[in-house]
């Protein structure tokens, strides 16, 4: 197991290093020197100069940049003085994290329930309904889902608050919009996995031992079927993060995604790049944790990893 974790850690570190290097190179490739503009105040210019060290040789710039990142310093805004990436993340990350966790919990729990119900009622109405929900979930992009939910439940029928993030009621629509894709993926996978497990010999054995059908379903079938579902958690975290980007701007939630989109529209490149590094590193680490967890749960993976 130790060897597996070390290998996974190595790949993740290499990935982050590549990402950071790519960002560094891209900054230099940007057309038309985006870091200078007439409106820039001298203070902002000094900040950028200090952070990127444009006057030094390229190699030195690269190591300055790495050193800054290692210290956790992600850069300065080129539009507003005193605005730093760290400050934005500090203020907005809790909102995004909260929304992300809520949508993951929603997507995974409902996805599992739908998948299990579908598999237990194979070919019946409930199965059909859960398949339709899964298809909708994979075919409707989250920003469209968010806008439609906001329009119908918020504006038209007035059941939920239209925007902002103040209480539990405010979190429901955004969490559904972000988590729906996860729900669809999990329920599809869980259904397929449940149907496969049903044919295994150990289910027959359990049944022939006279165990009640509830116990067979709960203790034998679901427990074994849930394993492959863990593999989608990695991609799911990425999907949830993508979702928060747009959903936060639709529902006016002061999270990271909203600031990111705002910075893109303001052409505040240094904020965009700083936040991109943060996002990238966050996702790489989240994926690594999911992989290691999967290795812990399923011994076959870590043997294959050796």
């Amino acid at each position: 197991m130790g060897k597996y974790i070390i290998k996974r850690l190595g790949i993740s570190l290499a990935t982050i290093l590549v990402l950071v290097t790519v960002v560094f190179i891209l900054v230099r490739l940007m057309p038309g020197d985006p870091f200078t503009s007439d409106k820039m105040t001298p203070e902002i210019k000094a900040n950028l100069e200090k952070y990127y060290g444009f006057d030094k040789p390229l190699i030195e710039q690269y190591f300055t940049y790495l050193k800054n990142l290692l210290k956790g310093d992600l850069g300065y805004s080129m539009k507003y003085k005193n605005q730093t990436v760290n400050k934005i993340i500090e203020d907005s990350f809790p909102f995004s994290f909260d929304l992300g966790i809520r949508s993951l919990v929603f997507g995974i729990s409902f996805g599992l329930v739908f998948g299990i119900t579908a598999a237990l009622n194979r070919g019946k109405k409930l199965d059909f309904i859960s398949i339709v929900i899964a298809i909708i979930g994979t075919s409707v992009p989250d920003f469209i889902m968010g806008a439609l939910l906001q329009y119908f439940f918020g504006i038209k029928w007035g059941l939920f608050p239209v925007a902002q993030y103040l209480g539990f009621k405010h979190t429901i629509l955004p969490a559904i919009a972000v988590g729906f894709y996860t729900l669809a993926q999990v329920s599809r996978l869980m259904r397929a996995s449940m149907l496969e497990v049903v044919q295994q010999d150990y289910i027959k054995t359990a049944k022939s031992k006279g165990i009640s059908s509830f116990r067979v379903t709960y203790k034998h079938q679901i427990r074994n079927a849930i394993m492959p579902v863990v593999t989608v958690l990695g991609p799911t975290v990425a999907a949830v993060l993508t979702g928060t980007f747009v959903i936060e701007s639709i529902f006016a939630i002061p999270g990271m995604g909203k600031f990111y989109v705002q910075s893109v529209q303001n052409l505040d490149y240094s904020i965009v790049l700083g936040m991109t590094v943060f996002y990238g590193a966050f996702l790489v680490i989240a994926n690594m944790i999911v992989d290691i967890l999967y290795g812990l749960i399923d011994p076959r993976i870590r043997i294959a990893g050796k």
Binding site: I11, S12, A14, T15, V18, L19, V22, V23, L26, L29, M30, P31, I135, T138, S139, V140, P141, F143, I144, A147, L148, Q150, Y151, I155, A238, L241, T242, F245, V246, S249, I250, Y260, V261, V264, Q265, Y269, V272, L273, T276, Y279, G280, L283, V284, N287
Partner: protein
């Protein structure tokens, strides 16, 4: 009991020897179906997949011809006709600048579908080549490529796309390039796995023993074996490319006005949602129905292109 009685009543004279007709027994009664003819036959039998295919063909035809045949230009601004609802003059209404939405939707379809298909095909070709070479030749080259892919695979696709779009100037080419930078990796991984498995099989060994060149083995033996999987993969990847375009355009990094795409239309639609909801519903419908049709077609193709399932339906 009754059967026995009837049998007893049967008379030998009522039967005659017809003999064996070897030629007839050995002849092929049904026309020889090629792989593609068989796949086509099975797709036609699968209603869901066939309707999906028709929807996609219809959208492609409309994307090509609808903007040409309409009397409106997709950029023509008319301040006297702002935000008009669906009417006989403007089939999908007009937007905030008085532009005809029917033309803009199909113009957007051109852009969105072009990006979706071109980016996916390029990814498949590049990924297939790299994965194929890596899997077929193996050795140091293979392990080098695989380590590289391991590292690249970890970088979130979206992050790379955003970075590329920040650097490149917004537009169709930029979007395609941004999607191709990392898009090939998934295909390369899976093609490499398939080739690696196939090249150990007896028919490849037989071809090698007979002195068939590497090139011919790849063209005649390996590619036909995985082409079905590749096409299925390709179909399933188009929706995610269309989604990426819509997403990037939505956050302001994709297609820049006055050019329009389904993502740009959705963005305007969301802005106008409170007052003119149809401006979101129309492009949303087209994005969702295209993604749905492609997903369902992919499901159908997976079954139709799998020769092992031949004759099971």
């Amino acid at each position: 009991m009754e059967n026995n009685l009837e049998l007893k009543n049967l008379n030998r004279t009522e039967f005659k020897v017809v003999g064996k007709n070897i030629e007839k027994m050995e002849s092929i009664t049904r026309p020889n179906l090629t792989y593609w003819a068989d796949a086509w036959r099975r797709i036609k039998k699968n209603n869901v997949a066939f309707i999906s295919l028709m929807v996609i063909v219809l959208y492609i035809l409309m994307a090509i011809f609808a903007p040409m045949l309409s009397k409106y230009e997709y950029t023509a601004i008319d301040s006297s006709k702002m935000n008009q609802f669906i009417s006989s003059k403007h089939w999908f209404g007009t937007d905030e600048l008085g532009r005809d939405l029917w033309v803009r939707v199909w113009r957007g379809a051109r852009v969105s579908l072009t990006i979706g298909f071109v980016a996916t095909i390029m990814n498949t070709v590049v990924g297939g080549l790299i994965g194929g070479i890596s899997g077929y030749y193996g050795g140091t080259l293979d392990s080098f490529i695989m380590r590289f892919i391991d590292v690249m695979y970890g970088i979130p696709r979206l992050i790379v796309q955003i970075l590329m779009m920040v650097v490149l100037r917004p537009g169709i080419e930029a979007l395609i390039i941004a999607m191709c930078i990392t898009g090939w990796i998934g295909t390369a991984r899976f093609v490499r796995g398939e080739i690696y498995r196939l090249k150990e099989q007896d028919f490849v060994a037989a071809a090698k023993v007979l002195g068939v060149s590497d090139f011919t083995i790849i063209i005649r033996h390996l590619i036909p074996n995985i082409i079905g999987l590749i096409i299925t993969n390709l179909t399933m990847a188009v929706p995610s490319a269309i989604f990426s375009e819509a997403f990037l355009s939505y956050i302001g990094l994709g297609i820049a006005p006055p050019e329009c795409s389904w993502g740009v239309l959705t963005k305007t639609g969301v802005k106008m949602l409170r007052v003119y909801p149809y401006q979101l519903f129309i492009p949303a419908f087209f994005i969702c129905s295209t993604m749905l049709a492609l997903n369902l077609l992919g499901d159908g193709l997976r079954d139709a292109l799998d020769p092992k399932l031949r004759g099971t339906e």
